[in-house]
């Protein structure tokens, strides 16, 4: 029967909005929700993200060179690694930890899943938000470095664009990995996974040593290439460490770095949105 629908009168103006604009509105509203929630816990977020880099910079950048156990130039090589490591950990945690609540017993994410946007965009919002957290944590390292290291290092300023790009890519990769971990691991095993994933990630990611210096331990040098953090740390070294009298400080080829990070992000993001979908739609 195709008689005119009385209900059409009641259909609101908002129903005429296109599906794309509905989805985008919902996407940004959910992003605002995450930012509002983060602003409330900014102190604990900063402590969580900053404690480790603070002590690392102090011990490895100040104390060890000070007592002659590390070369003076070490701080300059260490700093890019700390920037990438802090950003990546903050991005991973920024996605994984909220997911435990969201997908837990109370399923607090349901209200967002019922918003007028496709499920994959709910996952994408989480990744974007995690990227922000990662980039913010990375950025916080710079003023901290000024305070702790003082003038014992310098950052080149002619590759600012690459520096910003690397910080964002670092956050994106971390957030996509966080989505994978958060959707694959059952909540009760999350803290165990942090140990099992973070420890090798931290120590094989070339954060505390430059990749090119590993030439003498070839097997380890190859092994580090499996860790996405290696590419972030090397990319940031490329963007931050000023040339010495001997010329540019050698790093992993920046083209390889960019290609690896883009491919790595795409793979983790696609896999992560799939596992997310599996968790929220039965």
């Amino acid at each position: 029967m195709s008689s005119p629908m009385p209900a059409a009168i009641a259909v609101k103006e908002r129903h005429e909005a296109s599906q794309t604009s509905l989805a985008m509105t919902a996407f940004f509203a959910i992003l605002v929700r995450d930012l509002v929630v983060t602003r409330r816990e900014i102190v604990s977020f900063l402590l969580q993200a900053m404690m480790q880099p603070l002590f690392f910079l102090f011990i490895f950048g100040k104390v060890l060179p000070g007592i002659g156990l590390a070369a003076g130039g070490f701080a300059g090589l260490l700093l890019p690694g700390i920037v990438s490591l802090s950003g990546m950990l903050a991005a991973i945690q920024g996605v994984t930890l909220p997911l435990v609540l969201d997908l837990g017993f109370a399923r607090e994410i349901d209200d967002r899943l019922l918003a007028p946007l496709p499920v994959w965009m709910v996952a994408a919002e989480k990744v974007l938000f995690g990227t922000f957290r990662g980039a913010f944590a990375s950025a916080c390292i710079f003023p901290m470095a000024v305070l702790i290291l003082g003038s014992s290092y310098s950052v080149r300023t002619d590759r600012m664009g690459m520096l910003i790009l690397m910080i964002l890519l670092n956050g994106l990769v971390g957030a996509a990995i966080g989505m994978l971990i958060g959707t694959l691991v059952q909540p009760q095993f999350i803290s165990l996974m942090f140990t099992l994933i973070f420890t090798p990630l931290i120590f094989t990611g070339c954060a505390y040593y430059p990749w090119t210096a590993l030439g003498h331990i070839r097997w380890f040098q190859v092994l580090t290439l499996l860790n996405p953090l290696t590419y972030c740390s090397e990319g940031l070294r490329y963007a931050m460490v000023p040339p010495t009298r001997l010329g540019e400080v050698p790093t992993l080829d920046i083209r390889i770095v960019l290609a690896a990070l883009i491919v790595g992000f795409a793979a983790c993001f696609i896999a992560g949105t799939r596992t997310f979908h599996k968790r929220v739609v039965s």
């Binding site: 029967m1 008689s3 629908m5 009385p6 209900a7 009641a10 609101k12 908002r14 129903h15 909005a17 599906q19 604009s21 509905l22 989805a23 509105t25 919902a26 509203a29 959910i30 605002v32 929700r33 509002v36 929630v37 409330r40 609540l101 109370a106 399923r107 607090e108 349901d110 209200d111 967002r112 899943l113 019922l114 918003a115 007028p116 946007l117 496709p118 499920v119 929220v280 739609v281 039965s282």
Partner: protein
Amino acid sequence: MTSAIEVRELRKRYPQSKTDAVDGVSFEVARGEVFGLLGPNGAGKTTTIGVLTTAVAPTGGAATIAGHDVVSDQILVKQRIAVVPQRSNLDRSLRVREILTFHAAYHGVPRREREQRADALLGELGLGERRNEKVDRYSGGMAQRLMIARALMHEPEVLFLDEPTNNLDPQSRLFLWERIQALNASGLTILLTTHDMDEADRLCHRIAVMDYGRILVNDTPSELKKLIPGGNVLELHVQAEAAARQSLLTRLQQIAGVSKVEEVRGANEEQDTTSYRIYAAEAGALVGAAVQATVAAGARVHDLSVKNASLEEVFIYLTGRHLR
């Protein structure tokens, strides 16, 4: 005019399950109707709601909300529906009022409008004084009311209520029933699941009785009650050995005027009591004959009562089981 909800041959089999949780269900809900899915736990009610609200992917059949397919038109479906789940899924990172305003923001309601609406609904549902708290301190009844307020924030066309009064105290239940009726009076289509007969009888225009993933009957409460042959039921609880039970069943069936006798399992926890439901036009007149049959079979009468047609009787008649 398209129906508010249309379900055709819907099927859902969860991975690693050998049976269909929803096994070929079809029904239609008109706009402005209150429709009830009634059945015991595990009957497939919540899975059916899950498919209609895009949380469960169907493995067969089709369903539409206001003409929009729940699989291929999810954005348009989500825009038109609201869900109040069985358990609280309130966003505990937000404050009470924010739960409402953010929900509306997700649905694109402009700021001024969503703030006015949140305040109005909080007042209406008696939550106005605690708007800036977090929900951790909310009682079950308050969380339920807040979830209803949240559901109404984007002015949905179809409201899904999954066991809305489960675990509520009698006062909250009454309050909720009144709200549901008022909402329906304002034109909202409502689909609710329940295993509370009173609730279904009182609220629903039509009821589908579900069991094992199928709809057994689908009709108005008054039509459903007519299903009971003869109209009322004599319920007989006896203490009897296995042999006596068999003999008693035969004797009861032979009483003149009896249209059906059922042995009801699991009604009592003590193992040696068994219940019989004797359907007849005038069940009250059979009391004497039923007692005689019991004694003759070597069993002892434990309890005996005459029940008038209610949805509970209808359900037991259809499934041979009590609801709870």
